[in-house]
């Protein structure tokens, strides 16, 4: 008698040394080795990508910092530069003097231009909390040379400056004198050791200067410089531009099944296509610095793909329901997990075997929609008058919805059997519909008119998390997206 214990002992405790038929073929271990090394090799590209993206971000940060450092001052920074940059202080004083258009015929000691004082006061009061106001200007050093029609202006806090000015109006000079006297009086009213009083005195002059916006000041400054045939300081070419983009394009989805999943499906001759889809997107782009913009995009996408594999079933005549039919509940594989289906197989009267092993060749069609929100930085790398190319680097979230599956075709390896009904009874479980991802790409743009342009974008996107995960099985998605866009700047 062969009881349970005997059978168990036979299988578990018997020596297998002489059982040559149990020797696995060499391909088994070579397959194991290959998979192990492949796993370790796969980690290297990931590391490479992480390091690459990190370096890229560093480069972008450095270049952004360098650009910001060299770029013309923004409105708040311009004021600061007026203090620290001699030319700007000179220009500001020139502006006032030029506005006066004074003609000076007599040699007069004009003293310090009160407006110049005011300028400095504005600068210092806004940027240094009036700290520097404790150093009163040396008025006696500022002289108007009437013989040469030159106004020499110097201030103690800056390098000595000189410029040639056309003075055309004696009236303006008079008014300047009055202003100067007013300021001198105000300054005299303060004691050198009383900073707060000094600050108050200087503050009283602020409204006059602040009535001109920094942009107006720059415009006036350059007008003066042009008149003097001096190369103007180039005003910032950067202008924060907002634009709206609408685009359509196509997408390719790659499904990356992990080793366990691939190995499990291999015996069933599993195959699948890449996902192909169309997308519609709308984006808002805003330049935040010269050559750098932030773009946020919302994309709606429709993807289709196919998959198929074999499934072994045993047709049992004893299990027939009606009309020589057997009903099979099958579990089918897809790149994003397993589906449940029902297939009814009909036996022809020619087949009389009580049990037949059949191979069903199953073909599925899958479709899904997804909405995608992406935020990215565009870094201009090539720029001409009407054409620009930018590097696109961003992150986003993709959300799958509307997942549809269809069992499109079932072929049987035995001509005596055919399918009469096939349907999907359950969609994939364990799908992670919302996944964060990173993307990198290129954006080319051609300007058509001053505010309309067309563009072409090529993006690569890779999910951070798997779209399907169940125990040891998982699938990651990477996507390629190309779309053309129409841009309207406003």
């Amino acid at each position: 008698m062969l009881d349970n214990k005997n059978i168990k002992d036979l299988f578990n405790n018997a020596s297998l040394e002489d059982q040559d038929w149990l020797e696995p073929s060499d391909s088994v271990f070579s397959g194991i080795e290959e998979a192990i090394y492949k796993n370790e090799e796969e980690k290297k590209p990931l590391l490479f990508w992480l390091v690459g993206v990190g370096l890229l971000l560093c480069c972008l940060c450095i270049s952004t910092w360098a650009l910001n450092k060299n770029k013309p001052p923004s409105e708040s920074l311009k004021i600061e530069n007026q203090k620290s940059h001699p030319n700007i202080e000179l220009n500001t004083s020139n502006e006032i003097t030029s506005n006066a258009k004074s003609d000076v015929s007599d040699h007069k000691e004009v003293g310090n231009d009160p407006n110049n004082l005011n300028d400095r006061s504005v600068v210092e009061s806004q940027n240094n909390d009036l700290k520097n106001a404790s150093s009163p200007p040396i008025i006696s050093n500022n002289k108007l040379n009437t013989q040469s029609n030159q106004l020499k202006i110097s201030t103690p806090t800056t390098n000595k400056l000189s410029t040639t000015l056309d003075i055309t109006s004696t009236e303006k000079i008079s008014s300047l004198k009055k202003s100067k006297n007013t300021v001198i009086e105000k300054k005299s009213a303060t004691t050198p050791n009383n900073n707060s009083n000094k600050s108050n005195g200087l503050k009283s002059t602020l409204p006059t200067r602040l009535s001109n916006t920094p942009k107006e000041l720059i415009y006036k400054r350059n007008t003066i410089i042009n008149n003097q045939k001096i190369d103007p300081i180039v005003e910032s070419t950067f202008e924060s531009i907002a634009s709206l983009k609408v685009g359509v394009g196509t997408s390719i989805w790659n499904f990356h099944l992990n080793d366990n999943y691939t190995s499990a499906l291999n015996p069933a001759d599993f195959s699948h296509s890449n996902g192909i889809g169309v997308n519609l997107n709308i984006a808002y782009e805003k330049t935040i610095a010269p050559s750098i913009a932030i773009i946020s995009t919302v994309t709606l996408e429709k993807i289709k793909y196919q998959s198929g594999h074999n499934s072994a079933v045993t047709y049992d005549t004893n299990s027939e329901l009606i009309d020589q039919e057997n009903e099979f509940d099958l579990t089918m594989a897809s790149p994003m997990g397993f589906l449940e289906s029902q297939v009814v197989v009909q036996r022809s009267i020619d087949s009389t075997d009580p049990q037949s092993d059949l191979i069903l060749d199953l073909h599925n069609e899958h479709e899904n929609y997804n909405v995608d929100f992406n935020i990215a930085m565009l870094r201009q790398i090539i720029s001409t008058k009407s054409f620009s190319t930018s590097l696109h680097l961003g992150v986003g979230i993709n959300h799958l919805f509307g997942i549809n599956n269809k069992l499109s075709e079932v072929n049987i390896n035995n001509a005596n059997y055919s399918t009469t009904l096939k349907s999907i009874t359950g969609n994939q479980n364990n799908i992670n519909p919302t996944r964060p991802y990173y993307n990198i790409g290129l954006n080319a743009q051609k300007r058509i008119t001053s505010n309309i342009g067309v563009g072409l974008n090529a993006l690569y996107m890779r999910d951070f998390t798997s779209v399907y995960s169940d125990q040891d099985f998982s699938t990651m998605i990477s996507r390629y997206m190309v779309h053309a866009s129409l841009k309207y700047a406003f």
């Binding site: 008698m1 349970n4 036979l10 020797e23 088994v28 271990f29 998979a35």
Partner: protein, 188 residues
């Protein structure tokens, strides 16, 4: 050196990066593990596939092996069985549900039929069983699972597990009696 000590040494060397040690480990148990795969899978081809897949898992999970909780053989055999069951669950139609309450838990085979029975023959006969019968028979009789564990693992009821086992034994008895195993040659 005890077998388990050699295993632990090989595991440590494997974890240190020695592929040769892992190959040694594989060679030590590959026959035993292939036998498990053959018992569960219908073809040798599938069995070798499962062996390969299971060993990849073993390699990846080797650091989780705790020698204080059991031997490498026990631990790795569980991984082999789970890999086979996972595969069977994915691609086989559901187990037939037959409610049979009475059953005989021993296989009574005539002494004549058993006379020349060996491991290979028994394996051959088991392989001729349908998926459901074979899986429950393997799990209960050879691998020591209880019906409750089988029911939980295969997502069937306990009574189904029992009925599958009974049918499996009836089938085996019939095959032994008819010397059917002699005509089964898929593992030769």
């Amino acid at each position: 050196m005890p077998k388990n000590s050699i295993d632990i040494k090989l595991i440590q060397e494997t974890l240190s990066g020695s592929t040769a040690a892992f190959e040694n480990l594989y060679r030590r148990y590959s026959k035993h593990h292939l036998l498990i795969c053959i018992r569960y899978m219908k073809s040798r081809f599938d069995a070798e596939d499962m062996l390969q897949e299971a060993y990849i898992k073993i390699y990846k999970d080797l650091k989780k092996f705790d020698s204080s909780k059991g031997t490498f053989n026990t631990w790795s055999s569980r991984i082999i069985i789970n890999t086979c069951l996972q595969q069977l669950r994915k691609f086989r139609s559901k187990f037939d549900i037959v409610d049979i309450l009475e059953m005989n838990t021993d296989i009574s085979v005539s002494p004549d039929a058993m006379e020349n029975m060996n491991l290979k023959d028994l394996t051959k006969v088991i392989s001729t069983l349908s998926d459901g019968y074979r899986t429950v028979f393997n799990m209960y009789v050879i691998d020591g699972y209880s019906h409750k564990e089988i029911a939980d693992t295969l997502d069937i009821s306990v009574s189904t597990s029992k009925s599958q086992l009974m049918r499996a034994k009836q089938n085996l008895k019939k095959k032994f009696s008819n010397n059917e195993y002699a005509s089964v040659g898929i593992y030769a």
